[in-house]
């Protein structure tokens, strides 16, 4: 036990030392810069455009303070009531370096502490997860706990703002939603039909109650029924019929030669291809045919089928491996590029430094 603690402390110390060294060489590492920009909006009454239909009236809407409409039609009172805030635009570090070179005490582009800390946290989490490869350890546990908590919360929030508000409350209490959340909503009266999903929704959440879990069966039944209905048609149409229909191909497939007549070689290849395809489909179907014993002829065909399936799985295997590796590559790129600033493929900091930094120069 003590040995393990010791091992970890040593590892951590070495890592910290390396980081300190890295941070102190070259341009340093893991810094995010932002440019502040002031945006301001004025509520202005804009008359209908010349030539507009008789029934068009003037609109009152919020527009950027520097827009033509504001310049023309805004009253002083409206100008004074302007609403404004500053937005932070993330800029590549090289923009900061250039700005600094131009004017050492510029304040337009500044270091963003929240985002810089963010990069560090992200990197630490990444490493904590990887540390699981060595053995299960507290760092991994913490990272896992965080991902569980954050993702659950994330999905709830997104579901609430993107679906519940516009598609449920927006239909049941449009005026309220319009006034407080979605001014853009075109409120066309209350749609009482949406009481049904509301009630179902409540029943679904009821499952959290200690008693009466059966209540949640009703919405569950609805969900199951809908899925079943959707899939029954969808799969027969999209999978069954279409797949069969696109398998109806000639086993002899004459290919026109550019000069006219049939290109023998091409024809043979094309035909062979179709034959193999069809044979495969039929053989595999035979393997998945459960009414007959796999003996004699059927057995042989089924065996061919299993071979096809194995090749299919081999392909899937290859592609899956490929995918996993790509994901790993992406993570390492994050560590090397965004955090350690060792490489600079997207030219965030100026290519000149990228190579030099690795050697630790500049």
């Amino acid at each position: 036990m003590n040995a393990r603690v010791l091992a970890w402390t040593v590892i951590l110390l070495i890592a910290t030392a390396l980081l300190v060294w890295r941070a102190s060489t070259g341009l340093g590492m893991a810094k995010v810069y932002v440019e502040a920009e002031e945006v301001s909006f004025v509520e202005v009454t804009v008359p209908p455009p010349p030539g507009a239909a008789a029934d068009e009236t003037s609109k009152t809407l919020w527009l950027p303070a520097d827009s033509t409409e504001v310049r023309r039609y805004a009253t002083p009172a409206q100008r004074d009531a302007a609403i404004s805030w500053t937005e932070l635009q993330q800029v590549p570090p090289k923009a900061y370096f250039e700005a600094q070179a131009a004017d050492p005490n510029q304040t337009a582009i500044v270091l963003s502490w929240p985002r810089t800390i963010g990069i560090w946290i992200a990197a630490i989490f990444t490493l904590s997860i990887f540390s699981f490869l060595y053995r299960d350890n507290p760092f991994y546990r913490v990272a896992e706990a965080v991902v569980v908590g954050v993702s659950a919360g994330y999905w709830m929030v997104v579901g609430f703002w993107d679906v519940i508000i516009p598609n449920l409350l927006g239909k049941l209490m449009p005026e309220f939603v319009k006034a407080n959340f979605l001014p853009g909503l075109n409120a066309t009266g209350v749609e009482w039909a949406y009481l049904v999903p509301l009630v179902f929704g409540i029943m679904l959440v009821w499952r959290l109650m200690p008693k009466g879990g059966w209540i949640s069966l009703w919405p569950l039944a609805f969900i199951v029924g809908t899925t079943a209905g959707l899939r029954m048609v969808g799969y027969i149409e999209g999978d069954f019929l279409s797949q069969v229909s696109s398998s109806v191909i000639p086993v002899i497939n004459p290919i026109e030669a550019p000069g006219g007549g049939t290109d023998v070689m091409a024809t043979i290849w094309a035909s062979l291809r179709n034959v193999l395809l069809l044979a495969g489909i039929l053989a595999c179907l035979t393997y998945f045919f459960f009414s007959v014993e796999h003996k004699g002829g059927v057995g042989k065909i089924a065996r061919v089928g299993i071979w096809y399936l194995m090749i299919t799985f081999g392909a899937a295997f290859g592609f899956t491996v490929m995918g996993r590796i790509a994901l790993l590559a992406a993570r390492l790129e994050f560590l090397f590029n965004d955090w350690l600033w060792l490489i600079d493929p997207t030219d965030q900091r100026g290519v000149a430094n990228a190579a030099a930094m690795v050697i630790g120069g500049v």
């Binding site: 709830m156 609430f160 209905g229 071979w307 299919t312 290859g318």
Partner: protein, 233 residues
Amino acid sequence: MRRTVPLWITAIAGVALVISAFLPATRGWGEDVATWFSILAAVAFVLGGGNLLKVHLRKISDRQSGWGYSSIVLACFFATLWVGLFKVGVHPNPKYPDVAYSGQTQGIGSPFWWLYEYAFKPLTSTMFAMLAFYVASAAFRAFRAKNVEAVLLLGTAFIILLGRTFAGVVLTGWIPADGAFAGLRLENLSVYVMQVFNTAGNRAIIIGIALGIASTSLKILLGIDRSYLGSGD
């Protein structure tokens, strides 16, 4: 009552969708039912959150092993909810600056965005990146060419792995690209395998699954299959 009502709900909802696929006049039903479904899907997120809360609160209250981690889970959960539901630090929609909550849920620079960008994103993607390592060790210790089947599988895997990278071009570059045997170049071979053998195999699987799903759905709609009700109480 407890059993029959759900069966009816299932049947009606499902049949409405099936019919609406064929009768243009009834297309409206299909759309409404589908919309309600999506609302319930969103509510399910709430349910998920609630379950999480239950499980971890119990762990903490019982001081089960690792209850400390549970408290981290809950802390993150509530932090995310707070900044997300109240759109903390989110600027309103420029079109309606006077409506505080009109801004984008995930407005850049807001705490919610921060949580996503620097906690959620790196953690989830690293979780999956781990698999690259496991697949490697499995390759060394588990994938054996025991029999013809395994040989076929691994052989195909090689073709894909090599053919889908520059290695394929190097290994079989000597085969003339426009000759009769160009098809044997690894990069072409991998395409051929995918489009003939893989397509054949997957077609059969897909057709089978489609039949399976159709018959299961049918059984569910007709109330023959009630397994999903078992998970209620």
